[in-house]
Each structure stands twice: as structure tokens, then as C-alpha cells.
């Protein structure tokens, strides 16, 4: 009898321990992660590649910019600043860029970064880089010292440094032996504060602190993409959670520490939770409405003006962004270097149905269908399209929404017919400055299909004008022109609502999560 009870007790104790191990592990894991300095960052999609220079994807940039570094990058106030370079010496004719490099910088494989690596990386970028046009003016890249490279340009390009510092598909520096490899076939070796550990697609990417990281002592703190970077965390795991509700639940339980984006209504609910802090990453993108200037009825400038005047931008933005938005007519962010002031303000957010109807009459519009192209992958696009369609119908435009998936939308918008309006959020372009933004509206394939010769000429003038003041004047003319031919309508500016556990310190919302200089407060 005694034996049986003891056995029963042992069995019960064993079962209790097993159940405890089964259900209690979650709390234990969360504590261990916090104490161990492991931060989990959540994003909703896979990085298409970790070969930083070949992809323009935000999901990749979030991760790669913690692993790799470029020669130059943007500062907090969007000026090109040296990161792996020490400085730049531009010849008086504007065609030779002598770039001394920081010495003693180590790659994750232990090798020191030298001029040969820089040359090999930039040569590779010319072949496989995601935005190869950035290096198009560069005729040759020469090693002019163990720690110095010299770029020779075919013609003076005053905006070269701005485009070279672009993080869109960053011109990162990798070891020369890796640079010989094809796109996506490299080992992920950079010079950044965190180094690559593993990538399990649809699950996570794991990085660990690079112990031999050499910070840039020319700075006291981080500055934009550069500055003095310090890796505090032992490891960073970028988890891919597509379902927003599940991601928020993981943050609430403490399984993860930072969410790249949360729904705006959820942020309101979390406001009363002392364990969670929310961050407004604002402004993040322009929400635009592009019109096809080759297809009727949008081939008529009067018709396009009528569309612009019919829109109630505030209503579109409020619904599309669920409340996190900014209304501004300017084609550069308010208060930024190239902000062109009040030009065009009189055409923005006017929702004047009478003027719109008069213009439609003037344009000879007869109720032809207006095909409004949008996609289901980016929620702001689809929601904006529905509101815009209703507003256009209200002034008598026969708007029909054509919602497809993103690759299909990209295919259709490259056609001269089959669409009239297209909703597009421009994330990185407005941030990069006037040249990056306007380049999408000119050249061989402008967003609105037909070239506007005046805009093309102004773009040429913009990229060949030396000095910021000169370019500001040109950009003011560009903004005026955009409000004359109405190929594209700026609807408003969107933001990114982000959230982190309260013990995450040093997190400053930016174009990518700078997880260096972030630490976890010990309880």
C-alpha cells in the first residue's frame, strides 16, 4: 500500500514537472531573453535577400544595415556623411573623387578592410547593384593607396554624393573574395556591429554581436546611417510574423521586444499598458495618386486637374492610414532642405466639386470609364483607392476600382493602356531627396507613362546644378510644374506606428531599426 502511494506520488510529481516544463517555459524563456541580451525584432515579411547591394527591399534593409556598412551614408538631417570612408576630396573640375578609408576596420571574417575590397565591392555594385544608376557616372574605380580609392566620373555630377550615400540598395563594402561571387551567392560578411548567424526563411534571421567591431570615433553618438555605433545586445533575432494580431500578442507576452509596425487602433489600446511603449515613425512615406497620361480620359490635362481638385485628401488619408498621417502639399517634407514652401498649395486638398465639374466639362468628358488600379498587398493602397473612387464618382467620373495583387499591378502599370489611376506609397524616394523622387517621373519609363518635356528638362537641370541653393531653386520650379500638369497627385504623408517593450532603451525610430545602440534595461 505504502509502495503504491509512493509510486503514485512520484508519478504525480513527474507529471507536474512535465506539465510545468510544458506550460511554464514561456515565462522562463522571456526572462532569459531579456537577461541574456537577446532582442527579438518582428517584421511582417521575409527579406528577399541578405546580399544587401542587390535588393531595394525594406524587409532586407531592416536587417542588412545592422550587418554591413557603406563608404558614405545619410546623417540624421539627410546629408551624406563618411562611414567607412574618412572623408572625400573632390577635384575642382568635379570629376575626381579621392576617398581615404578608415584604417583598422575589420570584416566579420577577421580580415582588415582595405582599398582592394572597396574597389571589388563597387565594381560588383556596377554589375549587380539594385540601383546601378547610382554608379553610372563613375568611369573608373582605382586603388590609389592601401587605404584609399579614387573614383573618376565621366562628367561632373553635383548630386553624385547624395545618390552614392543612398540606402535604397546600399553600396556596402564586402571582402574582395566575396565580391567575385554572383548575386545572392555570397557569404554574408560585412563590417557592421552585428554579424550573420543564420537565416530560416519564413521564420527568422539571427545576428550576433561582432566583438571586433571598430566604432567610428569621429562621432560621439549615432547619426543617421553612420556615427559611433555600439553593439550592446548579444544577439538580435529578426522574426517574420505576417499576422499583425499574432505579432502584437507576442509583444504583449514579452516573447518579442520590438515590432516594426502595429495597426494604429492597436496602438491606442496599448497606450494604457505600462510594459509597452509606442513610437510614431513620422513621416514615413508619400501616398500618391498617379495618372496615366497616355490613356483617355487621363491624357487630358484638364481632366487630370479636375481629379486633383475633386479629392478630399484628408478623408482619403484618414481612412487609408487609420489616423496616422500628415497633410502637406509639398513634394519634399515640410522644413527639409528642399522644401519649396507654398508653391501649389492652392491645388491641395481643395475638394471643390463645382470647379472639378466645370473642368470635366471643359475637358469634354463623357462618362468614359476611369480604371483605378490598386493592390491588396499594401493596405494603404487599396483603402485609398476605394475612397478616391467614391470621391470621383461624386463629381461624375465613372471610376471603377481594379484591385489585383502587387506583381499584377506592377505589370499593368507598365502598360500604356488598361489603367487611368494608380495608388502608390513612395517610401524611400522622398526621403532620399529631389533627384531620387523626380527620377521616377522622368526618363525612359516615367510613372505616368508619357514624358513631360518640361519636367524632363528641369530634372536634367536639377542633377547638373552645383550647390544646394541652386538646386533648391530648380526644385521650386519642379514643384510648380507638378501642380501644372497633374500627372501625379500627392495625397498626403503616412507614418509607421511602431512598438517596443518598455525595457528596450535607446530605440529611435528611423528609416531602418538601428538595433546597435539599443540595450535592454535590467530589472
Amino acid at each position: 500500500m505504502l509502495r503504491t502511494s509512493r509510486l503514485r506520488l512520484i508519478r504525480r510529481a513527474f507529471l507536474a514537472a512535465a506539465a510545468g516544463a510544458f506550460i511554464g517555459l514561456s515565462a522562463w524563456t522571456a526572462m532569459a531573453q531579456t537577461a541574456g541580451g537577446d532582442l527579438v525584432f518582428v517584421q511582417n515579411s521575409n527579406p528577399p535577400s541578405l546580399d544587401a547591394m542587390v535588393t531595394t527591399s525594406q524587409a532586407s534593409r531592416n536587417i542588412t544595415m545592422n550587418m554591413y556598412e557603406t563608404l558614405f551614408g545619410f546623417s540624421e538631417d539627410i546629408r551624406p556623411i563618411p562611414i567607412l570612408a574618412k572623408s572625400v576630396d573632390i577635384s575642382p573640375d568635379g570629376k575626381t573623387y579621392r576617398i581615404p578609408l578608415r584604417e583598422g576596420v575589420k570584416f566579420h571574417n577577421g580580415k582588415e578592410m582595405k582599398a582592394e575590397d572597396v574597389k571589388a565591392s563597387l565594381d560588383r555594385y556596377k554589375k549587380v547593384g539594385g540601383t546601378q544608376t547610382m554608379l553610372a557616372p563613375v568611369e573608373s574605380i582605382d586603388v590609389t593607396g592601401p587605404y584609399e580609392v579614387t573614383l573618376r566620373l565621366s562628367e561632373p555630377t553635383p548630386t553624385f554624393m547624395e545618390s552614392f550615400a543612398s540606402p535604397r540598395a546600399p553600396a556596402v563594402i564586402i571582402p574582395a573574395e566575396e565580391a567575385a561571387k554572383e548575386p545572392n551567392k555570397i557569404s554574408f560578411i560585412g563590417t557592421g556591429p552585428y554579424k550573420f548567424v543564420e537565416y530560416v526563411p519564413d521564420s527568422h534571421v539571427k545576428l550576433e554581436r561582432f566583438k571586433d567591431y571598430v566604432p567610428n570615433e569621429d562621432y560621439k553618438d549615432i547619426d543617421g546611417f553612420g556615427g559611433k555605433k555600439t553593439a550592446y545586445l548579444d544577439t538580435i533575432t529578426f522574426r517574420v510574423i505576417p499576422e499583425a494580431g499574432a505579432a502584437v500578442a507576442a509583444l504583449e507576452t514579452g516573447e518579442v521586444q520590438v515590432l516594426e509596425q502595429i495597426p494604429v487602433p492597436t496602438a491606442r489600446r496599448l497606450a494604457s499598458n505600462p510594459d509597452i511603449k509606442t513610437y510614431e515613425n513620422m513621416p514615413w512615406a508619400f501616398l500618391t495618386f498617379i495618372m496615366n497620361m497616355k490613356a483617355a480620359p487621363t491624357d487630358n490635362v484638364k481632366f487630370r486637374e479636375a481629379v486633383a481638385l475633386a479629392l478630399n485628401d484628408e478623408e482619403v488619408m484618414a481612412i487609408a492610414t487609420e489616423g496616422l498621417f500628415n497633410l502637406y502639399h509639398g513634394w519634399m517634407y515640410e522644413g527639409s532642405t528642399y522644401d519649396a514652401g507654398d508653391i501649389g498649395k492652392e491645388f491641395y486638398n481643395v475638394h471643390d466639386a463645382e470647379r472639378a465639374k466645370a473642368l470635366l466639362k471643359e475637358a469634354g468628358y463623357n462618362g468614359e470609364p476611369f480604371s483605378l488600379l490598386t493592390d491588396s498587398n499594401i493596405p494603404e493602397h487599396g483603402k485609398a483607392a476605394v475612397v478616391i473612387a467614391e470621391q470621383l464618382k461624386a463629381v461624375g467620373i465613372n471610376a471603377v476600382v481594379n484591385q489585383v495583387d502587387w506583381p499584377t499591378a506592377l505589370k499593368i502599370r507598365l502598360q500604356d493602356s488598361g489603367w487611368n489611376g494608380w495608388t502608390l506609397a513612395m517610401g524611400i524616394e522622398p526621403y532620399l531627396g529631389p533627384a531620387a523622387l523626380i527620377s521616377t517621373l522622368t526618363g525612359a519609363a516615367p510613372h505616368f507613362r508619357a514624358n513631360d518635356p518640361e519636367l524632363d528638362a528641369l530634372y536634367k537641370e536639377l542633377i547638373t546644378t552645383d550647390g544646394v541653393d541652386g538646386r533648391k531653386a530648380v526644385f521650386a520650379k519642379i514643384q510648380k510644374r507638378l501642380y501644372e500638369f497633374f500627372g501625379i497627385v500627392k495625397v498626403g504623408e503616412t507614418g509607421l506606428m511602431q512598438a517596443a517593450r518598455a525595457n528596450v532603451q535607446g530605440f529611435k525610430p528611423f528609416r531602418f531599426p538601428r538595433l546597435y545602440n539599443v540595450w535592454l534595461e535590467k530589472k
Binding site: 516544463a21 510544458f22 506550460i23 539594385g130 526563411p201 510574423i241 506583381p407 499584377t408 505589370k411
Partner: protein
């Protein structure tokens, strides 16, 4: 037995052929292609055309299909355009996640469903019957992704017992695997649990009215022996049929559940491939999933033989 298996395997071939043909046709109809994804945002039409040529996407659809079938005969499902690895490797790596999810869901659905069904049948007309069937109806009616989110809120956020998502391979930790799989499998199982419970109840009620059950009772056999040995075994045959069909439903449902619980399974692989137009992955992923479904149904046919000697004799 071997002859039966060979016949069933042979009859599976046309099914797989139709699956692959349908997926080829759908891919051909859907606009958009992978070249923009490979060539980058700033690519020119010339660059995209060059990639199209390199991948053979400029060839007529029939020629592309014949090439694909030619390679398939050599056991080669081709190379993913975007993952830089063979399709077979990419899909097989994900298969354990999806199979363990669907498998565990199947076990839960059958175990809970049969239990509820038996309870309802032996307590026919009582509150237990009504309660069990209400529960089954509830399971049948709720969308699995919503139920998944509710499970996360209750068991992860409120109680803190189980993780909100993510996958731990069984090779790494059995406890971790079980913890990561419990909620997703339960979410996936709930609808099928309802189906099984209702079928079991109906089937059991029918069998319980048979003469041999009355005879068994009359000769004084113990109640649980009558229920489990005589009634249940005979009532199981229609349920086993449902299991075959259910596998397909569970493999399909896994796509949604994998997204809710961020599990790196075949479903998410295929969805990602569709969104980026990685055709070889779509083709290969669908074919392997369909083959899994067909294989399970062959197992179901074999199970009939075990349960019902009449089928065995026919085979």
C-alpha cells in the same frame, strides 16, 4: 496486397498529372512575372527580357511544360528563381513543419471528435448529447484563423502557457516542438473535430441499433466491450473515409494557420512564391502537397482492409 498497392499507385499518376497541368495553366493566365523581382526596381525592359530569355520564360507555354515534365521524369523539380536552391530541397525542408501540423491536427480532430461522438451516441437524447453536438457545431462554424487568434489571446497572452507562434524542430527539443505545435494544431483541428463528432454520432447510433449489438448485450457482455469492440470498430469505417478527405482540407487549412502562428511550412513557401511569381516553387510545392494527399488516401484504403475483412478479401 502488393498488387492492390501497385494499382493504387498507378491510378495516382493521372491525378498528379492533372494537378500539375492545372497549376501550369493558372500560372500562364496570371499576369506579372518574376523578372521585375530579380532585376530590381530600376531595371529596364531590356534587362527584364534578358532574364526572361535566360529562364526560358520567353518560350511558348507548351514548350516550358514539356521541359518541366522531362526534368520531372528524371526526378528533378527544377531550381527556384529566387531562393537559389533546388525546389525539392526547399519544399522537403518545409514538409516536416506542415506534416507535423496537419498530422497533429488530424490526431486531435479524430480523438476529440470520436470521443464527443461516442458520448453523444451512448447518451443519446440527454444534455450530454446536446452539449457534445453544440460543441461540434461550434467547431464546424468558426473560422480557424479567428479561433487561432483567440487561442493566442487566451493561452499565450492571458495565461502565458504557450508561445504565440514560431516553430521548434522536434530534433532540437521535443517539449519545444509540442509547445510550438499545440495551439496551431488545435486551431486547425477544430472544424474537422466537428465533422468527425457528428459523423461518429450518426454512425454509432446506426450500429448500436444492429442485431449483433443487441445479441452482445443480451449475452451479458460488459458495456464498454460492446461499445468499443463491437460498435465502434464498425462505426469507424465511414470515419476512416472522412480522414482521407480531411487530410486535403487540413493541408489546405495549414496555409492560413502557418501564417497566423508564423510557422515556416510548405503553405507559406507556396504563398510567398505566388506573391513573387517563383513558378518552379509553385509547381513543385503543389505537386508534392498533392502527392502527400494521394499517398494518405492510399493509406486510408489500406486501413479499410484492416478494419473490414470484406474489403481485404475483395482486394
Amino acid at each position: 496486397m502488393i498488387g492492390f498497392l501497385a494499382r493504387r499507385l498507378l491510378s495516382a499518376l493521372p491525378v498528379l498529372l492533372v494537378v500539375s497541368l492545372v497549376s501550369f495553366v493558372i500560372i500562364a493566365i496570371v499576369p506579372g512575372d518574376v523578372t521585375a523581382e530579380i532585376a530590381g526596381a530600376d531595371s529596364t525592359e531590356a534587362q527584364r527580357a534578358e532574364i526572361r530569355e535566360r529562364l526560358g520564360l520567353d518560350k511558348p507555354m507548351v514548350e516550358q511544360a514539356l521541359r518541366w515534365y522531362g526534368r520531372l521524369l528524371q526526378g528533378d523539380l527544377g531550381q527556384s528563381y529566387l531562393l537559389n536552391r533546388p525546389v525539392t530541397e526547399a519544399v522537403l525542408e518545409r514538409l516536416p513543419v506542415t506534416l507535423s501540423l496537419a498530422g497533429l491536427a488530424l490526431v486531435m480532430a479524430v480523438a476529440l471528435g470520436v470521443l464527443l461522438g461516442i458520448l453523444a451516441a451512448i447518451r443519446h437524447g440527454t444534455w450530454l448529447d446536446q452539449g457534445s453536438m453544440s460543441l461540434a457545431l461550434f467547431g464546424l462554424s468558426i473560422p480557424d484563423f479567428w479561433f487561432g487568434l483567440i487561442l493566442i489571446v487566451v493561452f499565450s497572452v492571458q495565461l502565458g502557457w504557450l508561445p504565440t507562434g514560431g516553430y521548434v524542430p522536434a530534433s532540437e527539443s521535443i517539449v519545444g516542438w509540442a509547445r510550438s505545435m499545440t495551439l496551431p494544431a488545435l486551431a486547425l483541428a477544430i472544424t474537422q473535430m466537428g465533422v468527425v463528432a457528428r459523423m461518429t454520432r450518426a454512425s454509432m447510433l446506426e450500429v448500436m441499433g444492429e442485431d449483433y449489438i443487441r445479441t452482445a448485450r443480451a449475452k451479458g457482455m460488459r458495456r464498454h466491450v460492446v461499445i468499443f469492440k463491437h460498435a465502434l470498430r464498425n462505426a469507424l469505417i465511414p470515419i476512416v473515409t472522412v480522414v482521407g478527405v480531411m487530410t486535403g482540407v487540413l493541408l489546405g487549412g495549414a496555409v492560413v494557420i502557418e501564417s497566423v502562428f508564423s510557422l515556416p511550412g510548405v503553405g507559406r513557401l507556396i504563398i510567398g512564391a505566388i506573391q513573387r511569381r517563383d513558378y518552379p516553387i509553385i509547381q513543385g510545392g503543389l505537386l508534392i502537397t498533392a502527392a502527400t494527399f494521394v499517398f494518405v488516401n492510399i493509406l486510408v484504403d489500406l486501413a479499410y482492409g484492416w478494419l473490414d475483412p470484406r474489403v481485404r478479401n475483395d482486394g
